[in-house]
Symmetry: D2
Subunit: 146 residues, 4 copies
C-alpha cells in the first residue's frame, strides 16, 4: 500500500517572472509531475491507462504560498494521499526548500482527480477507479497530513 511520494526539482529560469520569483502557476505543474510519478510507481498513469482505459482529470486545485522560491532553489515536493473515494483521489503536496538552513516549508497545495472512462462520443464519465488503484493506494496517516 502506498500513500506518499517525493520528488525534487530545481527552479528553472523560465519558471521565474519579472518579480524574480517562481511564478505561482508553476507550482501546479510541479504538483502534477509528482502526482504522475506516484501513479507511475504503481503501474498506473494519468491518461488512458488500463483496460478499459481510464484518465484522471482534475476537478480541484489549490495552493497556499508562504515563502517565495527563487531561480536555482532546490525544492522537495512531498505528495500525500489525503482522501480516497471510490471515484476520486485528493492529494496534498508539501513544498520544502532544501537549500535553506534548516530546510523550510514554503507552500502547500492540493489536487483532486476524478477517475473517468472515455465514451465513444469523446465525452468522459466518472467511474470507479481500477482495482489496481483501489488495492495499492491508501490514505496517509493523519499526522503526516497536518
Amino acid at each position: 500500500m502506498a500513500y506518499d511520494f517525493k520528488a525534487i526539482r530545481h527552479v528553472e529560469f523560465s519558471e521565474t517572472d519579472m518579480a524574480g520569483l517562481m511564478h505561482f502557476s508553476n507550482y501546479f505543474r510541479y504538483m502534477e509531475t509528482v502526482e504522475q510519478s506516484f501513479l507511475r510507481s504503481l503501474g498506473l498513469s494519468v491518461f488512458r491507462s488500463g483496460d478499459p482505459p481510464v484518465s484522471w482529470p482534475r476537478v480541484h486545485a489549490e495552493c497556499d504560498y508562504k515563502l517565495p522560491l527563487f531561480f536555482g532553489d532546490e525544492v522537495e515536493i512531498h505528495l500525500l494521499v489525503a482522501e480516497k473515494k471510490p471515484k476520486a483521489l485528493t492529494f496534498v503536496f508539501k513544498f520544502r526548500k532544501l537549500n535553506a538552513s534548516p530546510p523550510v516549508q514554503v507552500a502547500r497545495g492540493a489536487l483532486t482527480a476524478v477517475c473517468v472512462k472515455h465514451n465513444s462520443d469523446g465525452g468522459m464519465a466518472a467511474c470507479s477507479m481500477p482495482k489496481l488503484a483501489l488495492e495499492k493506494i491508501q490514505t496517509a496517516p493523519l499526522e503526516l497530513l497536518r
Copy 2:
C-alpha cells in the same frame, strides 16, 4: 468604485495537453491576466507601482473545474472582488464558455493577493494597500459572488 472586470480569451493550441483539453494550470494564467487588467484599469499594477512602490504577490490560488475547455473555445473570465482587507484582496473568477448554446460556466477560481512593500535587502513585507486601491476597489454584491 469598481468590483468586477471581464475579459475574453480563446484557448490556444499551446495551452492544450495530450488529453485534448486546456491544461488545468493555464486557468491560473487566465485569472492573472484579468486580475492585471482590472488593476490597470484603476491605474494600479501588480508589480512595483506607486510611490513607495508596492507589489501584489499571491498567497492563495484555487480553481474548481466543472467542464473541460478545448482548443479554440471562447472563454469569458469574470473577475469579482470577493473580499477586501486592509492588506489583501481576494478575487473570484467565473469562467464561461461563450461558444456553447447557451453559454455555460465551466470553472470557478479564486486568487488572494497581499499588498507588500520591498525592503532594501530584497525582502518583502505586507503593508496597507495604496490609498488609490482603498478608494477605488469595493467588494462585489453578494448575489454576484454566488
Copy 3:
C-alpha cells in the same frame, strides 16, 4: 489568395522572466497563435482538419531577437508566407512593438510546418496539402519578406 495575417498581443506577467523581459521561448507561442489564426481564417486548422484529416507539425522554428519586450507591451505579429511547397509551408513573423514612438521591429521569426496524414498505427507521414490550402495560400511579395 492569402499570404499574410496580423494579430496583436499584450505581454502578460506570466510571460516575463526574472530578467524583467518576455522569456525568449514565448515568442514561439506568439508565432503559433498567429499561424493558427491565419489557417482558421482560410477554413483550415493546424490539427486533424479536413477529410482525410491532416495536421501541420513544425519541422523548424527560429527567432532573432533585436530588442526586448516588457510586461504590458503591445506587440503586432505579422505572419507572411515565405515559402510554399507541395507538402510544407514556411512562415516568417515580424514582431513590432506598437507602444514605441515610432513603432519598432523587435524580433523576426520563422516556422516551417509540414502537412502530414495520420496512419492507423498512430504514426504520421508527410503528404500533399489539401486542395483548399493549395488554392488559397500563396507566397508573399518579396519586398514584404525583407
Copy 4:
C-alpha cells in the same frame, strides 16, 4: 576548459499538446536548462553574475524537429559550444530519445547568447565576457558538432 554538458529530462504531461506530442516551444526551455547548468558548472550564471554583473540574453534561437517526443520519454540534451566570440557564445543542442532501441537523435537546436552589462538606466549593452568565461569555455571539436 569545457565545451559540452549533458542533462536528462523526462517529458512531462504539461509539456504535451493536444496532438499528443511535446509542444515545439518546450524544446527551447529544455535548451535553456542545460545552458544554465553548463554555466553554473563553471561558476557562471545566465543573469547578473560576477562583478560587475553581466547577463546573457539570447539573440538567436532555432530548432529542427526530426522525430516527435511523447509524454514520459527520457531525453538526453547534449550542449556543445559551437562558437566563441569575445561577446557571444553559440551553443548547439542534440536531443536524443534514450528510451528507443537504439537511442535516436530526435531534434537539434541552437542558441546564441550575448554577454551584456546593465546600465544605470535599466538598459543593456554588449560587453566582453568575463575572464572566467574566456578562460574556461572553448569550442567543441568539429566532429562532435556535426
